[in-house]
Symmetry: C2
Subunit: 199 residues, 2 copies
């Protein structure tokens, strides 16, 4: 029994390979694209190729950029002596959105994960150590996720960087703003108690 014409089947398959897209969604998306005007379909295809072609890593902080230094590393207004270490470019966006941080970043592109065979050489760790070794850095803030792998990565990096005489800090844990004590898990409550401050 034939189903869809081969080029359409192929497009469905391409969509089905994307994370979180099941076969029914893939079909729906492929039909949507097939029904797009020619120029919009071409714009979609071009966006894929152009993103692959022109998005590179900043040679300093390893964040995504479209050529050369990223805007944050290139900005003279940002504090050069502080580096915030994150696992993913999306974390940079989250922190920038808070408008609370004025230093530089370093993007690891992952976290240490022996289970998934991710070791120090698979991450942007050497480039971080090189930055710190060059001097001029006073504080490195670990902003990996507060899960086991994020914690392990932060501890590992802290040990690597301490010999250079920099201050290594970690984002505070606690009850999220707007959160309910009732729904906080034990570990979070424990950390919130540990980190309590005088009013």
């Amino acid at each position: 029994m034939e189903f869809f014409p081969a080029p359409l089947e192929n497009l469905v398959e391409q969509f089905a390979r994307l994370p979180g897209i099941g076969s029914k969604s893939a079909q729906r998306l492929a039909f949507h694209v097939l029904n797009l005007p020619q120029d919009q379909a071409r714009a979609f295809a071009d966006a894929i190729l152009e993103a692959k072609r022109s998005v590179t890593l900043c040679p300093v902080c390893q964040n995504l950029t479209s050529g050369g230094l990223c805007p944050i590393c290139a900005s003279p207004k940002r504090d050069e002596s502080t580096i915030c270490v994150v696992a993913d470019p999306r974390d940079v966006v989250a922190i920038e959105r808070s408008r609370e941080y004025n230093g530089r970043y370093h993007v690891l592109h992952g976290v240490l994960s022996p289970m998934n065979h991710v070791g120090p050489d698979d991450l942007q760790i050497k480039s971080l150590v090189d930055r710190v070794a060059q001097g001029g850095i006073q504080e490195v803030i670990m902003a990996t996720n507060p899960d086991t792998e994020g914690e392990t990565t932060a501890m590992y990096l802290a040990r690597l960087l301490k010999p250079f005489g920099v201050k290594v800090t970690r984002l505070a844990y606690g009850i999220p703003v707007g959160g309910h004590l009732e729904f906080a898990d034990d570990a979070t409550l424990m950390r919130a108690l540990e980190g309590r401050r005088e009013l």
Copy 2:
């Protein structure tokens, strides 16, 4: 504050335009594509362009095909005297999967919907009437969805086609196989009672 490099933002936006893809999913998909090997990203882009380029409508049944007559219309094994009318190419696939039907199809590419400004001229209705007018058709089976618009479309077509002396039928309504009476809605139960058969 800058967020992602422009080409990546553009790719996120392209994904966000797809139906059922929110902004968080669009970001996730764009990052996934950005991390694909070059050849896989190119294959995805090519699949879009190739589907747009080579998928056409069968000149007889208006189903999707990759050039010329669709395989069903081209097959001498299919009964030429029966046409099953469906709203969407996906419905053809659903019926083919049942392996119960050996006639031909006609794909309307939509249903009549005054609310959405879809009138008879926006659907493949003239091509259906022409097929029936040419003769040789004994039965036209309406297989539009059993909702208001599907029903209205089926009734409209039945009235158009009756003058040509063909038998116009409708798929049976009733309790779905494996379904529970308990969960069947009133309209379905009523139709199931109306359509009861002797055992």
